[in-house]
Symmetry: C2
Subunit: 629 residues, 2 copies
């Protein structure tokens, strides 16, 4: 955490100096904004939190409710999300209050007495070390609280505008603020009154029944599985030994339970299989009484007892798998001919079962993908065409999610005797772990993802996938750190220069640094705003192959020791060495001849290039960043 460079900061350094709109942010929702976000769920809140780091952009996020969410349905937090929270500064805090999944237990009928269940496989949750972050369970309401805290502490001092329901919108291309949105007050003195807001861009993060989606003519396509589940968050006493472990339980009586322990050490969630539903029975199953769900759970758990003491929340739902064919207001046959002004994200785009704990996670990655792009376009750093990459990148992910979840939830609903091998469910779980952990996403080449022609220079940083962190040592203060954890959600691009040779001697790295600092086509010189610091857009760091105590900081190129703040102090936090016990060059297959790894603001690897390929690097950035000289 860097601070004090504008003078002594007495209070919490997480509260950043106000800037831009944060200096005088209107308390009331104004008539004109840059970005209007509809809905304060995970997709909307992460987008708002990311945009709060662009204080020159006036973003507002409206919500139908009159205050914060008190209890949400989603609770599964995959490791990729915790990695994302790290960038927003709350991975540690939320982990401390969450339930952590380290194993999953598979229970099934005792072959000797199918009326009883017995424990089968017990695989570790992350056997291959996909991530250094944990797999958590914590209520969505707390995730939203942390994003709210982040945006409140941001330079924009953003907070949600509660008590506004979305009514309709209209795009009129003849205006600076082409989207005319009609909202309705849902609370207070003006309840029922309309409020019109004109916005440059609108994001509909307004859930499965999204009216923003409807207003741009998008429809959800997919099936309805006609399989019903009851879900309940309960406090109970039981002699079932694995009540504090995630379990898939298949009983001989044909029922299934997915058991999810919850934060706090006592609460747990049960998804209880209510069986096939006749197509004409749709309404009826939703009225299944709580008592019946509990009785069903008790039958499945036999011979173990379940004495339910308190139910915090419950619901009945049918599994559906539906996705929209686009995530913005540009019909597929017009892509490339005009740029979008309205976007949708999260449940507004994809709905599916809750079984794989994916919804909140994929929704947050939707928002993390879109937020910085809006920020770049609205601050004049990038052309509007950048915005088309959002739908292009995320719609495919949503389709993958639907396909995966369909397979998993179908398996979960299968009767034990339908499996060829009783271990099949556990095997599928283990084999496909990378997907539910959130790390299968790989964006294809585009204006913001280079091709893989130099992938062999850093085999552990696949282009298009998220940057997988590794340990390094910061040279100036000998601090062992995780390189990727230094990536804050501040909207900046990261360039990691992995050095050849030795600091102070002629090397490809030294030449590259010289070109970046002074070269005619240097992306730093081309794309940094005139009033910005040298690292305002491109945050360039170096990782040497040597031990930290052999590197003389005085010989490191000035590019990596930029001056910062009104006192022009040296920023010492961009120069790293290898951790001899865990050499990042070995861990991530980095060529000892060095290379450059470019990482997007949303943590995805955008390019791997040789240090010599300056022209290619410059050309890559020219595709999506404007020349601001």
């Amino acid at each position: 955490m860097q601070f004090h460079h504008h003078g002594y900061v007495s209070g919490d350094p997480r509260v950043q100096p106000a800037a831009g709109i944060g200096l005088d942010r209107p308390e009331e929702l104004p008539d004109e904004v840059d970005v209007l976000i509809v809905g304060t769920g995970p997709a909307g809140m992460i987008t708002a939190a990311q945009l709060s780091m662009f204080p020159d952009v006036h973003t507002r996020i409206v919500e139908r409710r009159d205050g914060r969410l008190r209890i949400g349905q989603a609770d599964g937090i995959q490791a990729r999300s915790v990695e994302t929270f790290q960038a927003f500064g709350f991975a540690g805090a939320i982990t401390a209050e969450a339930y952590r999944i380290t194993e999953m237990c598979f229970w099934r009928p005792d072959p000797d007495d199918p009326r009883r269940i017995v424990r089968g496989e017990r695989p570790p949750d992350d056997p291959t070390g996909i991530s250094e972050f944990p797999h958590l369970i914590v209520n969505q309401a707390r995730v939203l609280d942390y994003f709210a805290e982040f945006m409140g502490n941001s330079p924009s001092r953003m907070k949600p505008d509660y008590g506004y329901e979305f009514s309709e919108l209209e795009v009129t291309e003849d205006s600076d603020h082409p989207v005319r949105v009609t909202l309705v007050h849902t609370a207070g003195e003006r309840e029922g009154e309309e409020k019109v807001v004109r916005a440059r861009y609108v994001l509909g993060a307004d859930g499965a029944r999204s009216r923003v989606r409807d207003s741009i003519g998008c429809t959800m396509k997919g099936d309805q599985a006609f399989h019903a589940w009851g879900v309940m968050d309960v406090l109970a006493v039981t002699d079932f030994p694995d009540i504090r472990l995630k379990c898939a339980i298949q009983s001989g009586s044909g029922g299934n339970i997915l058991l999810i322990p919850r934060e706090g050490g006592h609460l747990f969630r049960m998804y209880v299989d209510l069986g096939e539903v006749a197509p004409d029975n749709k309404g009826e199953v939703r009225r299944t009484p709580l008592e019946q769900i509990i009785a069903k759970a008790q039958a499945i758990l036999a011979p173990y007892t379940l004495d339910v003491k308190h139910v915090a929340w419950h619901s009945v739902y049918e599994v559906g798998h539906r996705v929209t064919d686009r995530f913005d207001d540009v019909p597929l046959d017009q892509v490339g001919t005009r740029t979008p002004h309205v976007f949708i994200a999260g449940d507004a785009c994809h709905t599916h079962s809750a079984k794989a704990g994916q919804g909140m996670n994929v929704s947050m990655q939707d928002g993390f993908n879109l937020g910085w792009k809006l920020g770049y376009v609205l601050t004049g750093r990038s052309p509007e065409s950048l915005l088309a990459t959002y739908s292009a990148e995320r719609q495919v992910i949503a389709q993958n999610l639907i396909d995966f979840d369909k397979e998993w939830s179908t398996l979960m609903a299968k009767r034990p005797e339908e499996f060829e091998d009783p271990r099949q469910l556990a095997e599928f779980y283990v084999q496909t772990a990378e997907f539910p952990f959130g790390f299968m996403t790989q964006y294809p080449p585009s204006m913001i993802v280079a091709d893989q022609s130099h992938q062999d220079l850093a085999t552990g940083f696949p282009v298009g996938k998220r940057f997988k962190s590794a340990p390094v040592v910061r040279v100036a203060d000998a601090n062992p750190l995780h390189l990727g954890h230094q990536h804050r959600a501040d909207g900046r691009w990261r360039l990691y220069a992995f050095a050849d040779g030795v600091p102070g001697e002629a090397s490809a790295l030294a030449s590259w640094a010289g070109w970046m600092a002074t070269g005619e086509d240097s992306p730093v010189l081309a794309h940094t705003p005139a009033d910005g610091e040298l690292d305002a857009v491109l945050d360039v760091k170096v990782v040497y192959q040597q031990r930290h105590d052999t590197i003389d900081i005085g010989t490191v190129p000035a590019l990596f020791l930029p001056r910062t703040g009104p006192f022009e102090l040296v920023d010492y936090e961009k120069v790293f060495a290898t951790d001899p016990e865990d050499d990042i060059f070995d861990l991530r297959g980095i060529d000892r001849g060095g290379c450059v790894v470019v990482v997007r603001p949303d943590q995805y690897v955008a390019a791997v290039l040789p240090l010599e390929a300056t022209e290619e690097l410059a050309a890559f950035f020219r595709q999506h960043l404007k020349d601001l000289r």
Copy 2:
């Protein structure tokens, strides 16, 4: 973190349900309180934070200033303090914003050209792994903020009463509230007016010029070293390569600098040697202008440059080493004949140089030692005689601190040519590291520390020293955890039963657990208040020798799975297994025949006993806990 067991908690689980005084805490300082703490420095704030977990005790903490401290002098946070912060729930958060010391560099005159300095030794800060917690630098003001947050979230909803200066106190034994304290309003409409508060107990944590100390007739004894130092917190540009490392710099010109990098990546502190001071020159050296301190620093750093851009704080002080002979109002010749009602802590008891970064740390351990004792006496759990152990335990520690600091600060002020071996300073630093890290404290046998006759059963938990944590796995949820990190600052005693044998089979552990649950002389039955939960005073946990996945939770004695809250839910968080990669039995030298380790509320090991020694265990607790049956 355990919650939801009284029903669903929607908000931040760190905000505990209000209880006792927290249900209706008077906004204004009342006329009568249980405990009055004078001073909101580290010693006072940790005591208040600890007492805030005793909501049946009405504690107030008054402060002369009209608000929070904005910039404090202390900044060194030893690992023992971070361990303590873990118990108060903010070790992670404060580490994230602190500077972390991992190495120390020793610079001295270049033998070939004494006008230049060169780098000598560069030892790691904690080469032997004394603690799993880091050594940090962070301003005292932030430490106080975190304690304030903790007490605000506590059941007592405590917050400091700002704007009251201590004037005098009088102890009148004829009252329930025998201490009559006169305060003076320092701000607001009533500025200058007196306010009398009657208290059962008073803590003077009012600094080196403590008036509470004076009022109980204590005096500071010790020397004045007649060696002056300038200290400054600066933002500067320099080519000195180790500016972000802790350094002891000895120049050929005879000057010395202790360099302490500060949090935020830019600020650093320099203690600059101003040399010997003639005894009659006392006032004059204190007026040394900032420019002169900077010039001296520049001379010492040569040939490196130091371009100071901004000075956040500076001061000149002389090293003194002084300590009081008692920490309470009972003169030494009356100890044992009456119990104390007034205590002093922190700088009020011990003052010394800032060189070893000890002051704030030792002061906090003073308060952590006293807080729970006041809580126990005031809630009727312990006899008043417990309070005499505070002065008995802490005065010795203060004397040790003074002795250590005298040696270290004298070495720091030595001229290079006075050393027999230039490596002497670095060697002293490395050899004595356990002391400044805060882990040398070992309380002698007393009513709350047993003798060491069974120490061989757990050689890694020395009786009287702080409980050194080790990894374990929680059985119910397969979570790898650090056992000691589960020790919250909630005022409870911990009993760790290290198991012999296998759960479910006859064993010494099973017998012990049976006795604890039902035995006539069981400490749990004797000392738990009638209206308290089974673990309200004694938090009993078990650690098995086996792997977690071989332990059937159904066979674990009920003692370790107590019922909790209105729904009588099972508390699953007291049953642990060994981490096969880091077996706590091996790491801490625990006898495979099992044993009981008793840990005090302030994290010190109070006793190591065989599982069979039930009578000894019962007798130990009877020494300081009342039979509440």
